[in-house]
Structures are given as structure tokens and as C-alpha cells.
Symmetry: C2
Subunit: 224 residues, 2 copies
DNA sequence: CTAACATTTTTCCAACTGGTCAAATTTCTG
DNA sequence: CAGAAATTTGACCAGTTGGAAAAATGTTAG
């Protein structure tokens, strides 16, 4: 039987039975491990990543790593939680009392900034999605859906007021997610296509301009 | 040392040393294997997938599978080639002599159809991208870049003629890729958010309508 | 039918996997 | 500094992994 299908019995904090205060070393080493694990998991996915890889990247032995996170799953779970906060923040921030056009414009910018500043988190998320989101499906159907439903209603309201062209708010959100994530998740492809010249820093500025234009005006010229 | 980093010496067709004609059984079994492997690789990525899984999905023993594809890599390589054909076809099909607006509109439709009809290929591609495209980086910088450069020039020409709003053609292509792939790669998320009601057949029709509207008109109403 | 070839199965292996355990070492607290 | 607690290490384990070898079984052209 494969390890990813096997049900796990115990909870996360197997080692801290008596809720001792967390030491300095504990915090430092845990951060070190999570940092290394983010590299590895975001590159190979849960199944493709190994504890040895993570331990080596964190500069410690495997048993030592397992002292802090008794199971591979535990590390992944922690990363997942942190990542989801980052991932959801830009949408959470969209203000129903603001002006529709600037609100959406700045939502796009925030989401794109997230792709630039936290590409590994984005890829971690993408990896989980590709695998059918086995470890966060509940969160998708709960927290995420709730948030999206709420924001879709807001956007729909703006459209009712004639402040935005009528369109499906859900698919609009999908489109923003997709276009912004692309620059983190498909980074290699973007670099390969743009070549070395335009794949550096200016890349994200170009993307921001383009996306703003796309979402605001579309492609069809307004003279015919 | 990890298997993904280890250099491989021999070529693909280790077993067919004297170029014998391919038998009926060979073709059938190879197809069966590739079909099964597409399931597994697209779900777990190269490192996460195991030969055992593929063999079981194909209904044969592991050594039997290895008789047809001596190395795990060989299967993946074959899938990659087939996938790239499918992946590139919609863009190849865009006609520089056609009308810009309808051409782009139908390109979007073709690409979205690809996501609907070949989601596993799309996810296989996405998996490879997330991992930094180690096995197809040459193809990206060669074949793909060439094609995109060519089509970007075409689109740029259309813009020069005033038939399209001015925008960066490369980022336009990225946006079309991103938005259409999303429905294959992030299928779970889309389903989770839309719920059971609207996540069925109509989903892709809704998406097509939305994307058409987005790329043609954008969000800003044209009365101010 | 039968020899030559193609296919399949059985057995096996060394490396890697996630994880355990007890002993050794380091760090903190009084 | 001493003792207790926290941390690190090395040895180990059972299951999995990609793959090899050879024997056993099918298939087919002459």
C-alpha cells in the first residue's frame, strides 16, 4: 500500500506531551526546516520530496529533523497552513466599500506581487492542486469557497450598479488567479520564451501593465 | 544520489537492437502502458510516480512493463513528446492571414477545448513546469520559443494595423495559456468553489463565454 | 509441427524510503 | 559547577523502489 493512502493515527505534536515552553533552538531549527522543506516540496510535491533531501537542505541529519517534526506529513501540513494565509490574503483585502475599478486593479497587483515575492508558496499550492488537493480539499470547500462566494457577491453587486461590465464573477476571480499565478508556477516557461533580456526584473512590471490593460479594456479597439 | 539527478547513459530503445518490425502486441501494450502512465505521472509528477503504480494501472507486472520501456524515463519521454504536440497545436493553428479578433477568439476556444479534452496532458505539462522543466527545457527554449516569437510578431502586426488594442503580445499569449490551463490544472479548486451545481458540463461553456468577454472587452464599461 | 522469436513470470538485488531507538553530547537552570 | 532537560548522532529496521537475469510460456512463419 502506498504511504500517501495510509491513514495516520496520531496528531502532529507527538513530542511535546507536556506543553513545555518552546525553546530558542526549537524555533530556530523549525524555521530552518520549514524553509528547506518549502524548497523541496514546492519543487517535487509531497510524494516526490524526501526527508533526506529536506534534512540535507536544512543542514542537519534526518533523525535530528524528525526530532522536530516526527512525520513528513507534519512539515507539509505546517507549510500548507502558512501558505494558505499568504495565498488568501490578497482576496481578503478586497474592499466592498471601495471603488470597483481601483479595487480590482489593486487586487490584481497584490496577487501578482504575491507570485513575485512568494513563488515557492505559489508552487506548493499548485502542486497540491495538481494532485487533487488531497490534503486541503476541506479547506477549499470550506474557507476558500466561503471567501470566494462573499467576494463574488460583492463583484456581482458592482456589476448590478453598472460600475463594471457584466460577467461571471467566479470566472473573473479564476482568471485573476490564473494569470497572476502563471508568473510563479510557469516561471521556467516565461523565462524560456522571453529570453534572458526581458526575463529579469522588468518582467513583473510588464505583466502588471499588461494585466491591467487586459482586465480593464480587453483587446478590441473602441472605434468600430 | 537521487535518481532524478543521476545522468543516464543509454538511449531509449535498448530492447530493439536490430530494428525489428513492431508487432501488434507491442503496439497494444505500449499504448496501454502510456495510457496508464499518463494517469500516474500527471497526478504525481515524475519523481512521485512509481513503475509499480503504472504497471498496476496498466494491468501487468512490473518486469513485463519494463520489457516494453526499459526505463521509467523512457515512458515519461514518450508522453512528453505526445503531450507537447497536443499542447502546441492550438497556437500553431492561429492564422496570420485571418481576421485578428476571430483568430484570437478561436485560439482561446481551441486552447480551452484542449484543457477539457486532454486535462491529463495539461497537468503533465504543468507538473514538468513546476519542477523547472528539467526534461524539456531545450524544447522550451527552442521549438516553443520559436513558435511564440513568430506568433507574437503576427499579433504585434495586427496591433500596428490598429486591429487590436496595443498590448504586449507575449504577455497576451501567457494570459491565454494561464486562463485556459487553469480549468484543467486547478480543476479541483474550480469544482470546490463552484460547488456541485455549476461544476459539471456547463462549466467550460461558461468559461468560454467569460474569457471571450474578458479578452474582447475587459471590465470597464464604455460609457465613461 | 517445430524452431525461432516474442512475451510473461518468478526470483532477486542494491539503493532508497520513512521512521525508531538508545546512547552521546550540548545547553540551560539553579 | 552539577544535574536535568534538550538536542544530536549513529546504528538500525522493514517496506518500497527501479531495475536485472533467467527461466517459462506463447506465438508464428516456414
Amino acid at each position: 500500500m502506498l504511504e500517501s493512502d495510509r491513514p495516520k493515527g496520531r496528531g502532529t505534536e507527538a513530542r511535546q506531551r507536556k506543553a513545555r515552553p518552546i525553546t530558542r533552538i526549537q524555533r530556530e531549527k523549525q524555521d530552518l526546516i520549514l524553509e528547506a522543506a518549502l524548497d523541496v516540496f514546492s519543487l517535487h510535491g509531497f510524494r516526490g520530496a524526501t526527508i533526506d533531501q529536506i534534512a540535507e537542505a536544512a543542514g542537519m541529519s534526518k533523525p535530528n529533523l524528525l526530532y522536530y517534526f516526527p512525520r513528513k506529513e507534519d512539515i507539509h501540513k505546517r507549510l500548507m497552513a502558512g501558505m494558505l494565509d499568504i495565498w488568501l490574503a490578497p482576496l481578503r483585502h478586497m474592499d466592498s466599500d471601495g471603488d470597483p475599478i481601483p479595487e480590482i486593479r489593486s487586487y490584481i497587483r497584490r496577487k501578482l506581487k504575491m507570485s513575485r515575492d512568494f513563488p515557492r508558496q505559489s508552487r506548493l499550492f499548485a502542486n497540491e492542486m495538481l494532485q487533487g488537493a488531497p490534503r486541503i480539499i476541506d479547506m477549499l470547500e470550506g474557507e476558500l469557497k466561503t471567501l470566494v462566494d462573499e467576494k463574488a457577491k460583492v463583484i456581482g453587486g458592482w456589476m448590478d450598479e453598472g460600475k463594471l461590465n457584466r460577467a461571471d464573477p467566479y470566472h473573473l476571480i479564476f482568471a485573476i488567479w490564473a494569470t497572476t499565478q502563471h508568473y510563479a508556477d510557469f516561471d521556467v516557461q516565461v523565462r524560456a520564451v522571453l529570453g534572458n533580456d526581458r526575463s529579469g526584473e522588468g518582467r513583473f512590471e510588464d505583466a502588471a501593465c499588461f494585466l491591467e490593460q487586459l482586465f480593464m479594456h480587453g483587446l478590441k479597439p473602441q472605434r468600430g
